[in-house]
């Protein structure tokens, strides 16, 4: 599927942010900061023509896999999956409520489109390796994408997986690190520095790319460059801003795991909608709607 124009992707990213924030506010619980920082990454994957998938057939064996290893960022993924038609978009508003499929962290087998149960940080890249190896064994050509938090990369398992993927030359595997420089208790650099990050992945035999994680065109180009890479997995270090898109959440780690109040939500929605009255049913949805008409790659 060809990529739509950049302006349309930017508009979609805004829509996803709106969904995520409204759901978190309705639940009065959740993680705004790390949802917002990943908006362009998720947009590029799901709406930029990168992922080959079929929302009507989530188990299609040749689908590309997407694993949100930093599971607490799942509201932005639910927004993308809902807009893509995996489930009714309104279901997102039941986030974190009892009897809802919109669990606080991703749950495999419960929510269509969710490939792995995450939320205990550090595990997604290993699962991605499993998919990549299975694809190789079966002669299938799907790709596997894993989004990691930067704080998450303090877990030893991430580096066991990095070592393994490099040695196995898994070029169908692509890790994207949401490099927003904050974790739960504060700045990554203050708590347990990961630097030099590029050199770490490179020394584990990965192709490493760095991009502005809010420049959706740049993210898209990096993802496409990763597709062309042979003999090595690719790690995209996406430089992002935690809470991106909402002035009082940007660079403010208070919103790592705290929902906005009703009032804060209104301010946030106004900012995201460029001063217009908030509400996704309003103006800014054309981007997504237009895309939904295009059928994704049909399953065999």
């Amino acid at each position: 599927m060809p990529s739509p124009p950049v302006e349309q992707l930017e508009s979609i990213a805004r829509t996803l942010r709106v969904h995520a924030l409204r759901a978190i506010a309705a639940a009065n619980s959740g993680h705004p900061g790390g949802s917002l920082s990943a908006a362009e990454i998720v947009t590029a994957l799901y709406f930029g023509g990168v992922l080959q998938h079929d929302p009507r057939n989530p188990d299609w064996p040749d689908r590309d896999r997407f694993i949100l290893s930093k599971g607490h960022g799942v509201p932005i993924l639910y927004a993308a999956l809902g807009e893509r038609g995996y489930f009714p978009v309104d279901e997102i508003m039941t986030l974190r409520q009892v009897n809802s499929r919109m669990q606080g962290h991703p749950v495999q087998g419960m929510t269509p489109g969710i490939e792995a149960s995450t939320g205990s940080l550090g595990q997604g890249l290993s699962i991605g390796i499993g998919h990549a190896i299975a694809g190789r064994l079966d002669g299938r050509h799907f790709r596997t994408y894993v989004v990691l938090g930067d704080g998450e990369c303090q877990e030893g398992q991430v580096w066991e997986a990095a070592m393994c993927a490099g040695n196995y030359e898994l070029d169908t595997l692509c890790a994207i690190v949401d490099w927003n420089r904050f974790q739960l208790d504060g700045a990554v650099e203050d708590i347990q520095s990961l630097e030099p990050m590029r050199e770490k992945f490179a020394s584990f035999k990965w192709n490493v790319l760095e991009v502005d994680g809010h420049d959706v065109q740049a993210v898209l180009e990096a993802l496409n460059a990763a597709k062309a890479e042979r003999g090595r997995p690719t790690c995209i270090i996406a430089h992002t801003v935690k809470g991106k898109g909402v002035s009082f959440m940007e660079h403010n780690n208070e919103f790592h795991g705290k929902a906005p109040t009703g009032e804060q939500l209104q301010v946030a929605l106004a900012q995201l909608n460029g001063g217009q009255e908030a509400g996704v049913r309003g103006g800014r949805r054309d981007g997504v709607r237009g895309l939904r008409e295009q059928s994704p790659k049909p399953s065999p």
Binding site: G30, R96, V98, N99, S120, L184
Partner: protein, 319 residues
Amino acid sequence: MLSTRYTPRIGRATREAYGDALLELGRKNRDVVAIDADLAKSTFSWTFGKHFPERFFNIGIQEANMVGIASGLASSGKIPFISSFAAFALCKGFDQLRMGAAYPHLNVKVAGSHGGISIGEDGVSQQSVEDVALACALPGFIVCIPADEVSMTAAVHAAAAHRGPVYLRLGRPKAAIVHDAPLDFVFGRAITVRDGDALTIVANGLLVAQALMAAERLADRGISVRVLDMHTVKPIDVDALTRASRETGAFVVAEEHLHHGGLGSVVAATLAQTVPAPIAFVNLGDRYAESGKPDDLLRKYGMTADAIVTAAESVVRQR
């Protein structure tokens, strides 16, 4: 012992009491060192950390490493208190706890916060429902689940005074106060919070307050209930259980945990070898829960005063 009618008085969360007690310990004992794995503000180890930055290490998101470091600290004479969510400290650090704390019987204290499903909305990945089973599977560990701020404070001091590994489960929500301070608290000795002779409810953590509420309602129906706060699952209080079995003849065991390997299993095994009696179990069963408001979840998964009353009524008929 509470003899008057029990009206729940909400106190601090046990995790908050943990932080305050740890700070007090830190003032008294320079060998106390605390480590956390990027949850210091949630576990309240930060209460200690802000006062003793030189003895506090927020090492980032690496629970297994944290346990290993504690093992080294304890081997070199320190008293490490390590904290994270119970789900991560126990599950991710289990082999390190086995080899680095239990087997060498080191002076490592583990505080697992956000025990049970009453953490609510975050859902299964953060809900610890197997920590008691895991901790009990570590020979030599004391395993303790305090019910309120009063017993948590006592438990932290008891943990520091005890030479050997200790696991404390901390809770997220504010907890009803069920004990009066100062509390006569000893690991392995149950606290009778209400006396009765027709049934014994054995509970720990948040379920102690629920047990007291259930006991009142059962009393209104003419069933006289004893409530034991079995804060220590290991070593279990064999005397209190055998006495209760002889004097009341039936049990409900209530806990925020899976059915297998928790308080229920330990009580059943103990009674089977001493004075057998019918037992009903109030726990999560053999399944995971989900996201939701804590009260919604406790109701849906049957860990409330209501559930205890129902279990009690069926078990007294079996006496």
